[in-house]
Amino acid sequence: MTTQTTAPDAASTPATAPSGLIGIPPQIGRALATGGGILTVISTFLAWTWTSAFPGDLTVYGYPGGLQVLVLIGGALTTLFALASYGVKGLGWLVPAGADGAIKFAALATFATAWYTVIAISTNLGGVVNLEPGGYLVAIGSLAALLGALALPFEHPEADPIDPDDTSWEHFKHRAAHRWTTVKAAFASGTARPVGKLPSYVEILIIVAVLALGLFVFTYGIGTEYDELFIGFLLTAGFGFAALNKSGLIAQASQITARHQNITVCGAFVAAAAFPFTQTDDQYATLGVYILVFATVALGLNIVVGLAGLLDLGYVAFLGVGAYAAAMVSGSPSSPFHVHFPFWAAALVGAAASLVFGVLIGAPTLRLRGDYLAIVTLGFGEIFRITANNLDGTSGPDITNGSNGISSIPNLDILGFDFGAIHNILGFEIGRFANYFFLMLVITAVVVLVFRRSGDSRIGRAWVAIREDETAALAMGINGFRVKLIAFAVGASLAGLAGTVQAHVTYTVTPEQYLFAGPIPPNSAFLLAAVVLGGMGTIGGPLIGASLLFLIPNKLQFLGDYQLFAFGIALILLMRFRPEGLIPNRRRQLEFHEDAEAPTVLTKAGA
């Protein structure tokens, strides 16, 4: 009966004036957040450590470098949001959905990155003695900003009444749940006010700016040179994105991009095409082209999984079929067919081979539903790999050259443009991988086009209907089997198309590239993860999901054997806290917004 005293306690909390998470008066908290932000910004211009042994050279006064830049960005965001919350003229546009949630996340971003840096310096170099005054200053400044931000008032949620008959364990659970909802409420923010009609050139300029920012963030992330910088990048980018989201800027930007969809899509491709020009050597273009292959295949899988709702766990086999088909007609010396097709013919052969394979697998298996389909496709994916392994001349006819694969695939040559050579375009050196990056971008464009157009048509609606309720869809006159087979075949041939380029990029095609699960993407498990993590049924989702899933294991080499473990944990956490994926489908968004907020134009493309 001692617990009864807690019940009136919990009930009385909302009655008091709205307060922050920690007991600092709101006015002081706001001032603290602003001051802390400014202090952090200043401290990034100071030296944080005395030696350049820590990567990024944080010893220079007056010139932020490495992790300091990230902290600077976080501090600047915090300061700007805090000033906007004071109602400073000209900053109101920054916070269309209220400033407090944004300040909290921005301060969190700054704090996480700054303290991560300080701790990393101390552990790397052996002790806090290695910190210069700037290091202490940034730690204090960012801590002050965070404490100040957490003191900002918010609407406390009402606690459910406690049942006095419950056991103390239930009381504990109840209080924990309430504490959790309070924390969530502390970081919540309102909905963004809708953007007024701007002149269309202004809107297009905004789109260009957003795309340029996206390109910059992506380029920065791909170009991070050491583990600490990449982790700092993830912290800043993750919390910074959340801060922008809470400020309502993301919602406004997506409203504007929704008004100019075609421009946004074209602009995104221009921005992507600009990526090789931002690189000085071919090192990161290599990553770029691998990401693009992975993302394109994930987008193809999104037709099968996201639109038609067919869970395909052997999708990587179609990539393999395309790659093998292209490799065999590429004139490689280890190919049994000594022919050399031009690229367009090889691409057709690859896509057609995947199409045939897709129909052969789909025809018997698509009569199954749900889990059964997943298991059978998983089996077929493995069958492909094992067959390719065995067609080596000893266990079977010599077609795929067994586990050695088809090697020394020559570089492509389209209309005299040699993909293996370095070209000079507009004064920029464009190397081998950058060449393939451009080619892959064309393939991605094809997949995006197919996805958008087929999704918004009779056949796309039939796919979604089958996904939603197969029995009802059949009763509406949809030939379920046929429509599903089309989805399967389209997905397969798009993956095959991507495979034809992949074969040339990697020089060699071996069965071990096309596993169900493995540390290196693309494999079936990672492809599916990219789709689910990014957001099913969207274009942007799989692209972002694939980029993250490729970059994170690639950049965090120190994780070593724990990569898959970390990946699993991350996936579980994401599915717990954001089940709709990073970029939710607009349908799903609609579910949470009633009448008034339903946009007049609904597209399947979440981008």
Partner: protein, 350 residues
Amino acid sequence: MTTDTTTQDTTPGAPATGETVLDARGVTMRFGGLTAVRNVDLTVNSGEIVGLIGPNGAGKTTFFNCLTGLYIPTEGEVRYKGTVLPPKSFKVTAAGVARTFQNIRLFANMTVLENVLVGRHTRTKEGFWSAVLRLPGFHKAEAASRARAMELLEFVGLADKAEHLARNLPYGEQRKLEIARALASDPGLLLLDEPTAGMNPQETRATEELVFAIRDMGIAILVIEHDMRFIFNLCDRVAVLVQGEKLVEGDSATVQGDERVVAAYLGEPFEGAPGAEEAAEVAAAEAETETPAVETPEAETSEAETSEVAADDTEAEAPEAEADDAETADAPAAAADTTTDTAPGKENDR
């Protein structure tokens, strides 16, 4: 006792019944040892509204599923305008028979307009290549589909909610949307499976008007319903299904006056009724085990919903059985009165 017998068999201005649209002959459906539907004949003529009633578990929905190709009848055949219906539900829809579902089955995450557009599927042809290449015909066909869909939404009164998600509609409007979606396939015969289940009297009235309006479009209608007032107001002819067999068929007055119908609904075995003894036996067994025998096969075909359906059925069945028991006591009195009063009307009057 609320059901008034004043309702007449036909409504004024009903179009003259013409050619036979639906002709089911000797339809029998067996699931293993269980015969859910036995040798049922039913015809629906153009411009006619035919009702199908019967106690729970009488095999009405099973019979519906036989008509729409979800089940293939063990014996007998179903003809639509003279041709035998194919045994696939999408082909049946293409032939011109549309249906709604007892438990609403909309595409919840699609918009209202998209739901109706899916219904247009059989009447449009654009395939994958047309969608990707956006050939000139594509935009024309798409615009035509949208125009037709909006017309239908206007017809059922949902035009202003075209961009809402189907799941966000209130219950009554979801029913309307299901009807609009079924109408989108330009059917010659519309099968409605309990269109007023769970509706209040006003909504039922509105549905009634909607059904009459559909009939006036020249579409024949076969409707399953428990609401007796609704069915006797609406239908030109009513067939009564009991224990899988057709007990009686005729206009409302005939059916309401038939003592076997009264008996079947009240659970009292009536001498001379076909299969009355078995019926009583099965009913008793059903009441005991609470297993919805006839629904079992349905659960098989739609695995996704097994638990849901089963749960629904047990819920629905339990109070029903109680009600039956309670009313059995009244039965002799009612029979003695020899009124045409049909007690079940009250039971289902929502």
